[in-house]
Symmetry: C2
């Protein structure tokens, strides 16, 4: 492609409404433009990357035996009513009415539609297992779309759904998809991890997320430093310390702590480590049989973070998890939130394992301006329940039993899931088995956030000059910058020849053929901004010695390559 | 692809709700399934064809210098309000509200969005001309979706939009697109015609439709038998006969015609030709300055059809064209609709040129049960206006001045259009010209109904056994049916070898590898139903002589091809 025949509207300034680097760089490099909140146009440059991601996903899905189809984006409400999700799904489901006032939605996902197809088209065990997929534009009416295409309302997704006679078959396809996903992310050239995810209300541990590792990732992931174990921190179990709790050595003492509210305040005031303090959070409890509700205290160590997913699963805690207001706490507990502690507290107390293992701790005295030091469980206070309600941290023992946990950040770009009979049962999707008996099919589902991958790849690799693309999904693999092409016949001829040769060899080449009104410096900067991984410069000085200058996007220095060897040079470097 | 690893759910019975042959065959061959009214899932077989059409369209658009991007399907109302179409567009525009009660639509077309992009990204004449396109799922909330994907609500379209500094440039890109469209439809292997279309309120003759010719086509197209002229019958001008009207020879005579209402009745009753009679239709007129409305009579020859588009453009006729009810006619004209005629008629009379050229005609007497014979204009009755308000018919002189018109039927699959400044003016999309003066850009737009092409191709070519695909868009180009593969080692080995060789040579091959439980007859019938254009049969009898049986889908008889030559045989036959 020649720059003069393409369209790359780069921006010099970073748009003010773009917070994350991928959003900034996608705007600046002319990959995307915002149409409205959460709605983006993929400009020509961005679309090239999007299509390359799609192609790799498609090829690996095909290789893994999945069969592509294409379902409508607009779906009738009836199917969602059958599955129960018309009511359950929140406002992220864009519900619409057609001209005849019939209810539809713009599909955020397609379990209902594919199950409807399966129940009509599949009748015998002989047709199973079968795995359908599509690559399609979906819509999720996010309350706060942000980060560009990372959390857009309209986005491109690959979603696959498999159907099975039994669990063994479901497990086999699940493993095949796990492998296919690894192949996909390998080919995309991304540093990623498959991570154990909680399968929530479905049961079993049969769900994995695929995360692209990047410091800016929204999700924290816990890895074992000596096994394959990896889990979303939301779901990683914090193993309890099985040793006996240290004995109490200090006396309980009430200390005046004027204006000391936070753990940071207290740690500094008493010159102790945070892990010697307790943090008490107050949330709403579940109503009892009479419908009465109480507040519930959640107690964790001062150096830990509450894990809201875990806390929400505690029986006495209301779902969804909601924190008591200052006013509610004042009314019921007669002090401010920063002064709560378990000693003498009149509401149920759920304490985290690590907090329950503490002796001689510091905590709020349930009286404004006072804290206790030397507090101890049993002797000075009691808890109602002990449970795992905190996020794991660096150095925690791995739940797999091997090694310690290391926390990194990731961007979720894929999720595979054993659905079991959740949808097939509601929609009555059955086949006849070998004995002629009607059985409900089991299902798996497998998603990849295609458009999100483009952003995740940028988050993972960029520098002050712009994007650094992996070869496989770079909009162009090779950039050519000729110097003074409109003055030097030799540069012009060689450039044209090299461009033709590289294009004919199958490489995606961007030739910056703009005339001298655009300086070489500007051309170099734009090649770097848009992240072209391989750049060659063709100029009279090099040509005098029969060479071209080559530089990889992430290399410091350039090297020279003989003109005659340029095609072979790239054949060695770039996997087509 | 192997049949056992693919999914082709064929149907033996023709679904009762499918009226046209393409809809029937797409359902029966397992290409599509209905999800809801006007919403179809593209099953794996259908999707293969859809993707091939997309690829050809994309390649030719790229070749013609258009640049692909991808705009959101969901569009904010504000842009449509700016262009005025939020109000103007009928209920086909699916208007929706997001969770914040903001107005959006699901895009049926993207003029507003692309013009918004252009006004932000294009600032100088140096960036022009530029032509953007996308291939995307669109939504049009048809009042009565029908004929499967032919008139669906959700459909795939290629839409392109070009931007220009001046009319010359717009004309050049228009011609380039005309050529690209011809290349596309040539490569698709379709019998098509480019047809002059009316550009409606925009002015100029700068609009062409592309029609796939098929007897079942919804549109009638008029061709000259001795020039390149072709136009949609809706828009083809019926030239007036410039000779003098024949003189009156008969006496006006009122004849009792009990129960004779239609032209057929009258022609038979009087033993005359239809072209000697007049048909008078009564419609609503435009309100006058006082806001009073009257009925208007439209008079055409008995053998002609009213052209509603032309009639609607007559000043005295109300838009949209609506026929008066029987009750309205009875109340105002004191007789039934089948008895109306111009003699003594008290409302404005718009008469077609050909009807105005008649002498000694038969017409209704404005009295139930009576007609006039020997009626003549001027002497017996007067008209208010003479105009072209009929459809052209076979044998009419071509409006181009050369030859006579021939009427054929077509399916509109493409439309190219010079928009001029219609959208760029409303949205204020300007650039600076060479003199630094701000000028409004001119635009062209160019659409292709990608999903509709699949149906149109089937309408054009099919037989009692099923679809007959052109090679270029067949889901599979070659079908292999091995005979008794599970019994004969030789058949099995050769089949596998031929399948591998043809696949490696780049052909799309479907190997029917189902075991003997599926009879060869069923396999042949399915290959024919799904329209595989080239079929080979591999059996022991042929292999004894080193040959394979070959048959083209539309040939009567099969021929034999040496096994060793099979790849070259297809390389000669099929363009890859």
């Amino acid at each position: 492609m020649r720059t003069t025949e393409f369209f790359i509207p780069t921006l010099k300034e970073t748009p003010t409404d773009a917070v994350v680097i991928s959003h900034q760089l996608m705007l600046r490099s002319g990959m995307i433009r915002k149409l409205a909140s959460g709605l983006y146009t993929w400009l020509p440059l961005g679309l090239r990357t999007l299509r390359k991601i799609e192609r790799i996903v498609r090829e690996e899905m095909d290789k893994a035996g999945a069969i592509e189809l294409l379902m409508p984006a607009v779906q009738p409400a009836e199917l969602w009513q059958e599955s129960g999700r018309w009511e359950q799904y929140g406002p992220e489901l864009l519900r619409i009415k057609d001209r005849h006032q019939r209810d539809f939605c713009v599909g955020p996902t397609h379990e209902e539609v594919i199950t409807d197809i399966a129940r009509h088209e599949l009748s015998s065990y002989k047709q199973l297992p079968i795995n359908f997929y599509q690559i399609q534009t979906k819509f999720r009416d996010e309350i706060r779309p942000r980060f560009g295409v990372m959390r857009a309302r309209e986005f491109v997704m690959k979603d696959a759904y498999s159907f099975h006679l039994n669990e063994d078959s479901m497990q086999q396809t699940y493993e095949r998809m796990h492998t296919a996903y690894c192949n996909i992310f390998d080919r995309l050239g991304l540093n990623y991890r498959a991570v154990v995810a909680d399968s929530g209300s479905i049961g079993g541990s049969t769900s994995h997320e695929f995360h692209v590792l990047a410091e800016s990732g929204e999700d924290a992931i816990a890895f074992s430093n000596s096994s394959q174990y990896a889990a979303n921190v939301e779901k990683a179990v914090a193993l309890p310390d099985t040793t006996a709790r240290p004995a109490a050595t200090a006396e309980l003492s009430k200390v005046e702590t004027p204006n000391q509210h936070t753990i940071t305040d207290i740690v500094s005031f008493f010159s102790v480590e945070p892990k010697q303090t307790l943090k008490t959070l107050v949330v709403h409890g579940n109503p009892d049989e009479q419908g009465n509700t109480t507040l519930v205290a959640l107690v964790i160590r001062g150096d830990h973070q509450l894990n809201e997913v875990k806390a929400e699963n505690i029986h006495s805690v209301a779902q969804p998890l909601t924190f008591a207001s200052d006013a509610e706490i004042q009314a019921q507990l007669n002090c401010q939130p920063g002064s709560i502690g378990p000693v003498g507290l009149s509401i149920p107390i759920v304490v985290d394992h690590s907090a329950a293992h503490l002796a001689d701790f510091i905590c709020g005295a349930n009286e404004d301006g006072y804290h206790y030091t030397g507090a101890n469980w049993d002797r000075d206070c009691q808890y109602t329940t002990v449970a795992d309600i905190r996020n794991v941290v660096n150095g925690d023992p791995s739940p797999c039993g091997q090694g310690e946990l290391v926390i990194k950040r990731g961007i979720e770009v894929g999720h595979i899931f054993q659905l079991g009979a959740k949808y097939s049962k509601e929609l009555n999707a059955t086949v006849l088995d070998e004995q002629g008996k009607s059985v409900t099919m089991l299902m798996g589902c497998y998603g990849i956030g295609v458009s999100r991958i483009a952003a995740a790849a940028i988050e993972q690799k960029n520098d002050d000059h712009g994007i650094i693309w992996p070869d496989a999904i770079a909009p162009f693999q090779i950039g050519i910058v000729p110097l003074k092409m409109d003055k030097s016949e030799q540069v012009k001829t060689t450039t044209e020849q090299v461009y033709q040769q590289l294009t004919a060899a199958g490489f995606d080449v961007l030739l910056d053929d703009r005339d001298r009104k655009t300086s070489p410096g500007v051309k170099f900067a734009e090649m770097e901004l848009i992240g072209v991984p391989h750049r060659i410069v063709i100029g009279d000085r090099g040509l005098a010695e029969g060479t071209i200058e080559y530089k990889h996007r992430s290399a410091e220095d350039s090297t020279t390559v003989p003109v005659s060897e340029i095609v072979d040079f790239f054949k060695d470097k770039i996997t087509l």
